[in-house]
């Protein structure tokens, strides 16, 4: 069942001439993990703000169409009601940290205090969120003394602790090292597995391909493509229009032009690329064998592990 339902949503920021979002129609099912890709200026962050109720409640401007989450309509709800259903982790964690708390532990409790969660439950939930995001060791540090990647974990934890039905994440790993990124994607996937709906803006295509259920390509405020990760991420429509494309897809497309990629579909992940290129190498190997030539020792039929 769709928990998020956007119908004909068009939005213009105050004092601007052109809309940041144009006629967006989007339904997301409960527990679905949807990734949003697009060049800078496509409207990705605006879409996050719209889902989180910041548009129109905070940014004002002109919103038409309907934004529904869990059966409530945003224009008919207060922000206070809205935050119980939707949590947003900002693109820049520095803008999200309250500035009112001295430690990471207190920072995570801030949202819970504001919605009146009992003290014991608050402690348990904060400890759970710290552990889930791998920052238990930072509990007593000041949020401002942390590195960018650590602050992003705090930003994510302070939203997870609220246990929203819909989790909206705007480039949550942009300042993280690759292994930190993998861990965070693992956490997000796990939350989706437990029924939390996840909407994630992300440039890191390789991770989206591995973890997301569905990908939406946004450009100039409009939905350009909406489908499964392989379908969307290998679409030729993304070429040359500022979308991130996995190196595996680009190199296979070049190889295809050179006759070195034999499969119909282009790869998005490492495993798909290994499989496809191994096939091409094996085919060539057998061709050589037929001709009676020796295959190159490196180009032989190395199987994917």
């Amino acid at each position: 069942m769709a928990i998020v339902n956007l119908q004909n949503v068009t939005y213009k920021y105050p004092l601007t001439d052109s809309p940041a979002l144009q006629n967006i129609n989007l339904q997301v099912d409960e527990g679905e993990f949807v990734a949003i890709i697009g060049p800078n200026g496509a409207g990705k962050s605006t879409l996050c703000y719209t889902l989180a109720g910041f548009v129109p409640h905070f940014f004002k401007g002109e919103l038409t169409g309907t934004v529904e989450v869990a059966g409530n309509e945003s224009s008919q709800s207060t922000l206070h009601e809205w935050v119980l259903n939707v949590g947003l982790a900002f693109q820049n964690p520095f803008n999200q940290i309250s500035g009112a708390k001295y430690t990471v532990f207190e920072e995570l409790a801030f949202g819970l205090e504001n919605i009146g969660v009992p003290r014991d439950e608050m402690r348990a939930r904060v400890e759970g969120a710290l552990e889930l995001t791998g920052i238990s060791d930072l509990a007593d540090r000041s949020p401002y003394s942390l590195s960018g990647g650590q602050q992003q974990r705090v930003a994510l934890a302070s939203i997870l602790v609220m246990q929203p039905k819909v989790l909206v994440l705007d480039e949550p790993t942009s300042q993280m090292d690759p292994i930190g990124t993998r861990e965070v994607f693992g956490v997000i996937r796990k939350m989706a597995g437990q029924g939390m709906t996840v909407i994630l803006v992300e440039h890191k295509v390789e991770w989206i391909a591995q973890f997301a259920d569905r990908v939406i390509a946004l450009k100039d405020g409009q939905i350009l493509l909406d489908g499964s990760p392989p379908e969307v991420l290998t679409s030729p429509i993304l070429e040359g229009s500022g979308f991130g494309i996995s190196r595996y897809t680009s190199v296979a497309r070049r190889a295809q032009e050179l006759g070195l990629w034999k499969k119909d579909r282009l790869p998005v992940t490492l495993d798909e690329a290994v499989e496809g290129f191994s096939l091409a190498l094996t085919l060539r190997h057998s061709l050589w064998s037929q001709r009676g030539a020796l295959p190159s020792p490196t180009g032989g039929g190395e199987q994917p592990s």
């Binding site: 942009s174 070049r254 290994v274 290129f277």
Partner: protein, 265 residues
């Protein structure tokens, strides 16, 4: 202008030991990427080059200058530093004034400032945005303003801290062009990055750091091929390097050209 770092140690006032004996030589005109996990000491290291941090022990030489013997203002003529977050360094009412601020403070003449600004704006594709307030620009273009305002200072050494963070493909390509243009002018460039594919495609030398030490330092293919050592500092080799390895390629490959060449062998 050479950079020489001799047995550099640094401990933050709160007691965190961030650097444990770093020794490096970077020759004039070299372009180096610094990689490694969050908290490895990458930013702490580069902040020693323009004197923002003084060594607890050891020595940092920028050309013939010991960084502890010259003020940050003086060092600014030798080392330009582009912050990770552009919002931490932009403050002027329009892009032209912002970009002119640096060279004006370094004592260039009006004419020189004009030409440096024009050149930096052209390199960063901002020539049509001179009159715009930086905060009316998208974060992507603000990043380019931050780059331009440092490039206009015409320092022999330029440092970029995470230039590609949060940038889309088009802007990452623009930033790669800027780095290439600086290479052609003989500038020394040091870039901290988590974007390992960007690192592989744009740098000839890579330094991997972990826990305040240099873990690996050498030619890009050599460093990025050491996947087991890189894993200890939370770095995975670039996508095509990993693919080449899985396919059993003999040589380490780091970009499309090298990958396709190895595939054809």
């Amino acid at each position: 202008m050479n950079i020489e770092i001799r047995d550099l140690h640094f401990t933050y006032p709160a007691g965190v030991q961030a650097l444990h004996g770093i020794s490096l030589n970077i020759a004039s005109g070299e372009q180096v990427a610094i990689i490694g996990q969050n908290g490895a000491g990458k930013t702490t290291l580069v902040k020693h080059l323009n004197g923002l941090l003084p060594p607890t022990r050891g020595q940092v030489l920028v050309g013939d200058w010991d960084t502890t013997k010259h003020s940050v203002a003086k060092l600014a003529a030798r080392v330009g530093y582009v912050f990770q977050n552009p919002d931490e360094q932009l403050f002027s009412k329009n892009v032209g004034v912002e970009v002119a601020f640096g060279p004006r403070n370094l004592g260039f003449t009006g004419e020189q400032v004009h030409s440096l600004v024009k050149d930096a704006l052209a390199m960063t594709e901002l020539s049509d945005k001179t009159e715009t307030n930086p905060y009316d620009l998208s974060p992507t273009w603000r990043k380019m303003v931050a780059l331009a305002s440092v490039i206009a200072m015409d320092t022999p050494i330029v440092i970029f801290d995470e230039p590609t963070t949060g940038q889309d493909v088009m802007n990452i390509t623009r930033i790669a062009h800027v780095i290439k243009a600086l290479r052609e002018r003989g500038k020394t460039v040091m870039t901290i990055t988590h974007d390992i594919d960007f690192c592989a495609e744009n740098f000839e030398r890579v330094i991997a750091m972990a826990q305040g030490k240099v873990l690996l330092d050498g030619k890009t293919n050599h460093v990025l091929g050491q996947d087991e050592i890189l894993a200890t500092t939370y770095v995975e080799p670039p996508q095509l390097t990993r693919l080449g390895k899985r396919l059993g390629f003999k040589d380490v490959v780091r970009n499309q050209e090298e990958f396709l060449a190895a595939l054809k062998k």
